[in-house]
């Protein structure tokens, strides 16, 4: 356990350090923020003065040292565009992305488990074949294409669902949530479905193949031989053992889901972190870029840790991964 905790902390620091370096490497490549905060007819000399004021003319290593110094105090710099500390902006936008990821994860869990289990138990049935066929088609359609088709069909053509944004949100203790209004839920439907479209087929296939593997195993045969009820075998014995690999993969996939929010949020103008990231790239709002990277890195370290702990809880025979 000690080793586990130390390892995680070390990993977190490593991640943060690498990210901040990468962030700094690209900082100078995504453009000059001074162009973004001044009108075009401002004179060159005036621009140079602003650049000097912002410390952009300092040598890169000095800027980096300054950044690390401030970061140690929790200050990730000022967002040029929002005129606020970058960390504040990230925290403002995080609820949108987290809610989107949460709802898509729910969709994935709620749909993939029954479908995957069904397809594993009755692999020959027509419905299973349809599910499996559908899932491989689903894997093959890029997420942005699904999003575009969704907007075209449900918003523009049929006019049933809103085409962009989060709709009405309610501020609950600083957390701006879309869960408390009907409008918010309507706005969630298309983006969350699009986002889950990439992972849902993968999870159905994963659950099916793991479940089938478990059903083939000796102890399940033994359970049949013992004459246990089939639901007991399927859900208590087989499914429980299916969960382990699913959880491990699930944790990693969550990271990919967060990245795919960049695509989904771009299409739907969903005001979350992914959208913020692309905007920050376009606006060369470099403090935001670095803050975003560090935030996502932090989330991933936390998620990996949680996955490892859950893994240990679900399967007490293996102690937490990474310890003996």
């Amino acid at each position: 356990m000690v080793a586990f905790i130390i390892r995680r902390i070390v990993q977190a620091f490593l991640v943060m350090f690498i990210i901040s370096s990468i962030g700094f490497a690209i900082k100078h490549n995504v453009g000059d923020p001074v162009w973004q905060i001044t009108g075009i007819s401002v004179s060159k000399a005036e621009r140079e003065r602003i650049r000097e004021q912002l410390g952009l003319n300092d040598p890169v290593y000095i800027q980096y040292i300054n950044f690390l110094k401030n970061a140690a105090h929790g200050d990730l710099g000022q967002s040029y565009f929002y005129k606020k500390p970058a960390a504040d902006v990230i925290l403002d936008k995080a609820p949108a992305t987290l809610e989107l990821v949460l709802v898509s994860s729910m969709i994935i869990v709620v749909l993939s488990i029954p479908l995957g289990v069904y397809a594993a138990i009755y692999p020959k049935r027509i419905f299973s074949r349809v599910v499996m066929g559908g899932s491989i088609v689903g894997v093959s359609i890029p997420v942005f294409l699904i999003a575009i088709m969704g907007v075209y069909l449900f918003s523009v053509h049929l006019g049933w669902l809103p085409s962009f944004g989060r709709g009405a949100t309610v501020n609950v203790g600083g957390w701006r949530t879309g869960f408390l209004t009907v409008d918010g839920w309507l706005h969630l439907i298309l983006p969350s479905l699009s986002l889950s479209s990439i992972m849902l087929p993968l999870f159905i296939r994963l659950i099916r193949s793991e479940m089938m593997e478990v059903l083939e195993s000796d102890y399940i045969r033994y359970a049949w031989a013992k004459g246990l009820k089939k639901y007991r075998i399927w859900f208590l014995h087989a499914f429980k053992n299916t969960l382990l690999p699913v959880i491990t993969v699930g944790g990693v996939q969550l990271g990919i889901t967060i990245a795919f929010t960049i695509l989904t949020e771009t299409v739907f103008q969903w005001q979350g972190l992914g959208f913020l990231f692309m905007e920050a790239v376009e606006r060369s709002d470099t403090a935001l870029l670095v803050a975003y990277l560090m935030f996502v890195g932090m989330i991933m370290v936390v998620v990996n840790t949680v996955v490892d702990i859950i893994y240990g809880v679900v399967n007490p025979t293996v102690r937490i991964a990474g310890t003996k």
Binding site: Q11, V15, F144
Partner: protein, 306 residues
């Protein structure tokens, strides 16, 4: 050669293949698409890279069966007046080249690192696997966005069109190596324990010879299955990057940048500019995925999970 072919015909893989209609159809589709893509200059009605063929005045002509369509442009033209069919064939060629080369690059990096990490173990292993962990905790898309930002600045802008293809290959290749490294490492760890490796060491073979000539061939089935999946992924990644505007330039479009360019026209009625490349992309990726599925069932390798 014929000998090998004979043996292949007798193999279990071929036997399975013959019995699997889906695999046959997807393989045939893939072969057809590849032939089309690589004989693009021969079969495409126009050369979309030759500006003599492009006239802005013939832009957004609908497909031949729609009102306003002409026989000159079977699937219509795009917003620049390029023949859509030709542009798609050339675009598919770029997508396929990027997909395959990117996978080759990831495979080379991943296999080298996986072999070294798995075979030598110890600190080297620890270092590479931590690196892979860290990189995997960011998805490839994000990694690709960073790498592309850094590289784009490094190469300057003037010659971007010429280096865009190798550029994307490097971006996607660098973003995806951990998948290979982990799979290869897992296989190497399993193979390393087997006595044929000890036999090779007793004979005095060097580590390189053992890794490359003895262990690696035994890791091929997971690598093969992973490679098909990764080709599909790489084609999709390229499309995603192009969709975000970080991919192929508009003058040498891939399927992804064609979809992106057409996206702006989807409400205006010129749906074909985005729809046809979209359908082609899905067919291409689907065929690769179905083939990968077949291989996975037939070879039944243990892939590294997660």
């Amino acid at each position: 050669m014929t000998d090998r072919w004979q043996r292949f015909k007798k193999s279990a893989l071929f036997h399975d293949f013959k019995g699997d209609k889906v695999a046959i159809v997807s393989f045939a589709t893939l072969v057809l698409l590849f032939i089309c893509a690589f004989s693009a200059p021969l079969i495409a009605p126009y050369n979309p890279y030759d500006s003599a063929n492009i006239d802005i005045m013939s832009s957004e002509i609908p497909p031949v069966w729609m009102a306003g369509g002409t026989n000159d442009y079977l699937l219509g033209t795009d917003a620049q007046g390029r023949d859509l069919l030709s542009t798609m064939i050339y675009g598919m060629r770029i997508s396929i080249i990027i997909g395959i080369c990117a996978v080759a690059l990831q495979a080379v990096i991943g296999i080298i690192i996986g072999l070294i990490a798995g075979y030598y173990g110890g600190k080297l292993d620890g270092f590479f696997m931590r690196l892979a962990d860290v990189q995997l905790s960011f998805s490839y898309l994000m990694v690709a966005i960073f790498v592309s930002a850094v590289l784009q600045a490094a190469v300057g802008v003037g010659r971007f069109a010429e280096i865009a293809v190798p550029f994307l290959i490097i971006v996607i290749g660098l973003a995806q190596w951990p998948q290979y490294a982990r799979t290869v490492r897992a296989s190497v760890l399993a193979e390393k324990k087997k006595e044929y490796v000890e036999a090779a060491r007793v004979t005095g073979f060097g580590a390189h010879r053992i890794m490359w000539r003895h262990i690696l061939p035994n890791c091929m089935s997971p690598i093969l299955v992973l490679s098909t999946i990764q080709v599909a992924n790489a084609v999709m990644s390229e499309a995603a990057l192009s969709f975000l505007g970080l991919g192929m330039p508009v003058t040498r479009p891939s399927l992804g940048s064609l979809i992106n360019a057409g996206f702006e026209y989807i409400f205006s009625g010129s749906w074909w500019i985005t729809a046809f490349p979209g359908v082609l992309l899905v067919i291409l990726v689907l065929a690769v995925n179905l083939l990968g599925d077949f291989l996975r069932d037939a070879l039944n390798p243990k892939l590294y999970k997660g």
